[in-house]
Symmetry: C2
Subunit: 417 residues, 2 copies
């Protein structure tokens, strides 16, 4: 196996001001091409910590990927510490200088001394070009082991990963004829983890030396199959066999075997069938609309919606009847029904979704506790409303309402073919 | 200093399927009470890796906090590995058993053998109660050093941290008379990092042995001041001095010195002045409404809005004139103006915000490239529109449009007192 460790460098991550999304992105990316992630480590902007981590991780890894600490200010120490670690010196890298001059002149800026220093790079490293920022990546080799240093800015890190690092790792895995590790995700929705586990039964009976993990989220439970094999072909064969068994047992709940997200799957189905959708959101306040429109090209099937946070707007813009609001309350089956039906009619779409609920943490009653959410789905002439009681947490209730509304629409699309 | 290391355990995090939010949360929490975070480490569900990490981190830390691997299934190994590490055995913990029986009977479930095993805990550990789940936390001491093991489920981890771990760390810092580390954030918005740096000048002149970091995000640049002192009082004194200097230099751009978020600050100002707001969103598709409504109690000032993703909806629901749409296009100053003004009039609010733009990655033209966004702000009788060209990335453009709209409203609220 080609073992990779990841070191994230930065005080702001170490003290918890920023969530470390870089490590997850890098780990996901290298895993998808058959490498094995040993561990991630996060340290502050500190020379000793970085030297310690390199000393510890290089012996147990084929490649150590560093991210962060390559900027132009005083707290960016990575380049100098790597020079020290490999006993090397900084030299002027002409291509980088040319590139810096070019982009600074394009932007109409003068190239300052501070920025010019970014063109001085360790003499023994292979420079990995960065066309979206000013700090290039660096690749070092020592006794058949590798260290790659990348900027911490996510867009720059991703550019160099895609442009240089991923092809490099693929080549190394192929050259060494290393064992590869492969994963595949089967995505389910609308079924609790425990029920899904019962349907699938004892995994040992069909997994061989593979693995199966259940990963629940607000958009459903993901089943992750993992296998290793002496090459891609044998690994893929193993994956296929396990996938087949799981489809036999729980295929009805799997909506995607190719990492398509729930909202993207729903969008594809709407688009295929030339259907359009509009939303009327109370407690989710725009979150469902934001999720639909996170997909580029969603304007084909998503017309828009109304964020009806006050009763007045529900009445005035969405024609919810005053009687329903007074008699049943804004959080009620009747109001969810009218929200879904009326937004469909007003926006002249095929589908209307209405969401009303008590997100919390305040506003709950004995009869309607925090977490009570009614979701209405108007599909053609048919309007359905379902009631849910999710949790006591505001963000959880809003996220689960969005996930559940998408699942209801997915099921309707699958059942009305 | 009281040094803490954090180990996150779980294959799904190691291979990048889940972003490690637990480590950031724990690090932020312990930093806020004066502890010093040495590093975070993330490993798979693997005995050897966990033993290696404990061997390495315990000597350099006063406390190692583990999260994950305490569930009831076969891949949850933490409890057994800790037993092995400390040469201990599992014994029945009566209070935990009582608690498990109680919650299972409340939920109407039978307590299975698998769940009962969660009441068997290492004999030498102090059990930290978990009233939001089934796996309690565990505290071990060895030669004046501590290991705390917590569940990986965020709500459970947070419960035990707040209920047991934070008071424990506070007590230890006080007992040992340890040096404390304190941080304070000053939040700015509407000013680029480099300009802010110029205003503040050379930090060495006023920092002493403190530190200053610039942390940019889509909601502004955060200035993080860090100091250490022999006790809380001296550290707070140092913080106050540095804060005063920064306020003198850049106070006009600082909207919060107490970690209040931009949307929450805007909400407080609206609320104080009895003003209401409505939004008309095209390219952001509900994201601004979702941000306003992420704050509990926002219904006082946020009435709702329209997600006008299609031209038809802009015309029909928001009365945008056909002429404007045809003559200037949906992404234009004129349409942003009408969106803001009309949503304010239709929703009868004091403030209206209209956003229209090309989020990308497709849909750009030479005249209006991807990233072009017009934001209209109707405030009382006054309507302003600003044009921006953000980036080529869809998510970045949507996030920056939301952040910029909030900044425009903040400035208007601050200038119209």
């Amino acid at each position: 196996m080609f073992d990779i460790s990841i070191i994230t460098i930065g005080d702001e991550i170490c003290i918890g001001q920023i969530v470390n999304t870089n490590a997850a992105w890098i780990a996901g990316k290298v895993t998808s091409i058959g490498a094995n992630v040993k561990l991630h480590s996060t340290i502050g902007d500190n020379r000793d910590s970085l030297i310690d981590e390199l000393n510890r991780l290089l012996p147990i890894s084929d490649l150590v990927i560093l991210t962060g600490g390559l900027g132009p200010t005083h707290d960016d120490i990575t380049k100098n510490v790597l020079c020290e670690y490999f006993g090397d010196d900084l030299v002027l890298h002409n291509d980088t200088l040319k590139y810096l001059k070019k982009i600074f002149s394009l932007r109409g800026y003068h190239l300052t001394e501070r920025n010019m220093e970014q063109a001085y790079l360790p003499s023994i490293c292979l420079v990995l070009k960065n066309e979206v920022g000013t700090a290039p990546g660096m690749l070092f080799e020592e006794k058949g082991k590798f260290v790659i240093s990348l900027p911490g800015v996510p867009a720059e890190m991703k550019y160099i990963m895609n442009d240089s690092v991923i092809p490099f790792i693929k080549r190394k895995i192929a050259e060494r004829n290393d064992n590869v590790v492969l994963y595949k995700n089967l995505q389910t929705t609308g079924i609790p983890e425990s029920k899904l586990a019962d349907m699938i039964g004892e995994p040992k009976e069909f997994l061989g030396d593979g693995s199966l993990a259940f990963l629940p989220s607000y958009r459903g439970v993901k089943l992750r199959i993992g296998v290793s094999g002496k090459n891609f072909e044998t690994a893929r064969e193993k994956l296929k066999k396990i996938e087949k068994v799981i489809f036999e047992k729980a295929g009805g709940n799997i909506f995607s075997a190719d990492d398509e997200s729930l909202v993207s799957k729903v969008g594809s189905l709407l688009s295929e069938r030339n259907l359009t959708v509009a939303v009327a959101e109370s407690c989710t306040g725009g979150l469902l609309g934001a999720e639909f429109t996170s997909i580029s090209g969603s304007s084909v099937y998503f017309s828009g919606g109304v964020i009806a946070y006050s009763n007045e707007i529900k009445e005035k813009i969405l024609n919810v009847s005053k009687d329903s609001l007074v008699q049943f309350g804004a959080v009620s089956e009747q109001v969810a029904f009218e929200l879904a039906r009326n937004v469909r009619d007003i926006f002249k779409t095929d589908v209307g979704i209405g969401i009303t609920g008590i997100a919390g943490p305040t506003g709950g009653t004995e009869e309607k506790p925090v977490g009570t959410v009614f979701i209405g789905l108007a599909f053609g002439d048919n309007v359905k409303v379902k009631k849910f009681v999710f949790s006591t947490e505001r963000e959880v209730n809003r996220e689960r309402a969005v996930g559940t509304a998408l699942t209801m629409l997915l099921n309707e699309l699958q059942n009305n073919e």
